[in-house]
């Protein structure tokens, strides 16, 4: 009897120990950020299992909001989408930076992201992958016309341009119109004024647009078939297309490419924090980060990962970004609450306009 008791207790303890060290990590991320080979290596090394769900900024926040921050153990929204949703819905939990190996991060990027994701003195996010959005175009056909976002409205390209009806388009057009929307983030009246200008421009531009793209693959098809020659898109999209057609590439617009950083955050009701910290420390190692760069097409905040990145990608990056273009990147600051309602109304009106 006693023996059985002992055995059961041992088993129970073993079982408990097992769950404490080997967890299931439910990762809510973007396509390409958790490639199969990296997941396999991580599972082998740590014993954790990883369940990957691919999503985008809006859906990540909507999913976490619907469950009050449950259902996932690690999420990767952009750094500008952390402060607002956290203040509004409380869907994240503070990140304990001491559990991370800070030496793995590029110091300036880590500091900037932590500053941008601090609410009430508590840090909620650390950086992972960064990139920009700007112009993807066929330089042979549109290179002379398109230098900035607003050039997409040039009549010479009627019916051959495309962009998304989302907030990056509004911000990009505002910069191209000579405004600084980021400086007006805290001034709702001023921001509204800028957005009205953008709305007028986008409405006027509408006849020039073939279609508003909504998914990366859709845009790829449009560009590849030649139906669209210039568009507003992510840098990786342009670089991928560059492999098939040397004329197509990513160009940083005159008013500046828009820079984003996707982060790591812990959802409020996440149940595998240790596994989440393990994952962050694992993927930030230079070699692993280079594997993610190869799969996602974007560079990471991992210090020293560039050395391991493919030469071809580095060459494309340098061609798209001369030094002055890098300095001109406009990094998204955290979005204050209320602005998205203004933007939403503008986007709806543009879509419905004739």
């Amino acid at each position: 009897m006693k023996k059985t008791m002992l055995a059961t207790t041992c088993l129970a303890i073993l079982g408990l120990a097992q769950t404490a060290t080997a967890d299931t990590l439910r990762l809510l991320t973007w396509g390409g950020y958790a490639p199969d080979d990296v997941v396999e290596m991580f599972e082998e090394q740590t014993g954790h299992t990883v369940e990957v769900t691919k999503s985008n900024n809006e859906e990540m926040i909507a999913k976490l909001r619907a469950t009050g921050g449950g259902g996932f153990d690690l999420a990767q929204p952009s750094q500008d989408r952390i402060m607002g949703p956290q203040m509004e819905f409380g869907i994240y939990k503070p990140i304990d930076v001491s559990k991370l190996d800070e030496s793995l991060f590029i110091p300036s990027m880590l500091a900037a992201t932590m500053a941008n994701t601090t609410v009430n003195g508590v840090v909620y996010g650390v950086p992972h992958v960064w990139g920009t959005s700007g112009l993807v175009m066929n330089t042979a056909e549109a290179g002379d016309v398109v230098k900035d976002y607003t050039d997409l409205c040039d009549p010479a390209l009627a019916g051959k341009v495309s962009y998304r009806l989302k907030r990056p388009t509004l911000i990009g057009f505002a910069f191209a119109l000579g405004e600084d929307p980021f400086a007006a983030y805290d001034d709702e009246a001023k921001y509204k004024e800028i957005m009205e200008k953008v709305e007028a421009k986008l409405t006027e531009c509408k006849s020039n647009v073939k279609t508003y793209w909504s998914g990366g693959d859709e845009l790829m098809n449009l560009m590849r078939s030649g139906e669209v020659v210039a568009s507003m898109a992510w840098d990786t999209g342009g670089w991928k297309l560059n492999d098939d057609n040397a004329d197509i590439t990513f160009v940083a617009p005159a008013s500046g490419a828009l820079g984003w950083i996707d982060t790591f955050v812990l959802p409020a009701k996440g149940q595998a924090d240790d596994a989440a910290y393990d994952w962050i420390n694992f993927v930030m190692q230079p070699k692993i980060a280079a594997m993610i760069t190869a799969s996602a097409g974007n560079f990471t905040a991992s210090a020293g990962a560039e050395e391991h990145a493919e030469e071809a990608l580095k060459a494309k990056y340098q061609a798209s970004f001369p030094i002055e273009a890098i300095d001109n990147i406009k990094w998204y600051p955290p979005v204050p609450a209320g602005l998205e309602a203004i933007e939403g109304d503008v986007l709806d009106r543009v879509q419905a306009a004739n």
Partner: protein, 285 residues
């Protein structure tokens, strides 16, 4: 004995009650409550009718609302006009094997998902697509023709998506029509049109009404087809609901839109039944 019967009754009823309660009634009550509040500041909400006021005064929302309703009615009408001869042929003219084969042909496109079917239309209609190339090859067009991203393309997609749901109820009702009744109509001196109007359509009415209701609901609630085929001008009401919930994080307005859609579809279905002088019971039974 009686208590046995009662237990059986309760057991049989439980799944239905759970289904209705958990999946339909409770979420709708929650939606209604969400739609009846207003965001004051971070995490602070107050009950108010502001959302309904906004939805009913903003011209854009109303325009999209009516556009979606009118286009859905139009899609239903077109589907009926195309499906009726098809159903009549399958039910009355085709015999034996041919009948089964034709019915299967209607069914087969629905073996694949709606997304794939819509992509199929995109491949056909796009500027570098099959039809455009065919026209150029035949010399009917001297440059690529863009047939995607407009209301006509969207209508094609909607009608195609809902065709089956019109054909099936029509075939079922038309099959029950006795051939001798049609024959008697002709014997009594009726022409093709008067037989159709006086005999076939009245008999097929339950099928027409239930088919129309299903197709109308499907079109009204469709998200994929208008978004993918309709392009830059086609804002569908469901797309606005998605935008409010997911993109804008504005659940209050999204829930309000959801309720407006629910009321609209209920009113139009009720109107359809009134117009044809039928009750819901007759149509569904």
């Amino acid at each position: 004995m009686r208590s046995h019967a009662r237990i059986g009754f309760v057991l049989l009823l439980t799944p239905l009650v759970l289904w209705l309660g958990l999946l339909i009634i409770i979420p709708h009550i929650d939606m209604l409550l969400i739609s009846l509040r207003e965001r004051i500041s971070f995490g602070v909400y107050e009950p108010s009718l502001a959302q309904y006021q906004k939805a009913l005064t903003e011209p854009l929302y109303l325009r999209t609302f009516w556009r979606t309703a009118v286009m859905s009615v139009l899609a239903t009408a077109i589907t009926l006009v195309i499906a009726f001869p098809v159903a009549y042929y399958i039910a009355k003219m085709a015999r034996g094997r041919l009948q089964q084969v034709l019915f299967m042909l209607c069914l087969i496109p629905f073996y694949v998902s709606e997304l794939v079917r819509t992509f199929g239309w995109m491949i056909l209609l796009r500027e570098t697509g099959l039809i455009s190339n065919l026209l150029q090859w035949a010399g009917l067009a001297d440059q690529p023709v863009e047939m995607l991203y407009n209301d006509a393309a969207m209508m094609v997609g909607l009608v195609y998506t809902s065709m089956l749901f019109m054909v099936v109820p029509l075939v079922t009702t038309l099959e029950s029509l006795d051939d001798s009744v049609v024959e008697a109509g002709y014997d009594l001196g009726g022409g093709g049109i008067s037989v159709l109007r006086e005999i076939i359509i009245p008999h097929a009415m339950p099928g027409i009404v239930s088919g129309c209701i299903v197709v109308f609901m499907l079109s009204l609630g469709n998200y994929l087809t208008p978004t993918m085929l309709g392009g830059k001008d086609s804002l569908w009401f469901t797309e606005m609901i998605y935008n409010q919930f997911i993109v804008r994080s504005n659940w209050e307005l999204g829930a309000t839109f959801g309720f407006m859609l629910l009321v609209l579809s209920s009113v139009i279905v009720w109107g359809m039944l009134r117009l044809t002088g039928r009750t819901l019971q007759e149509t569904m039974g």
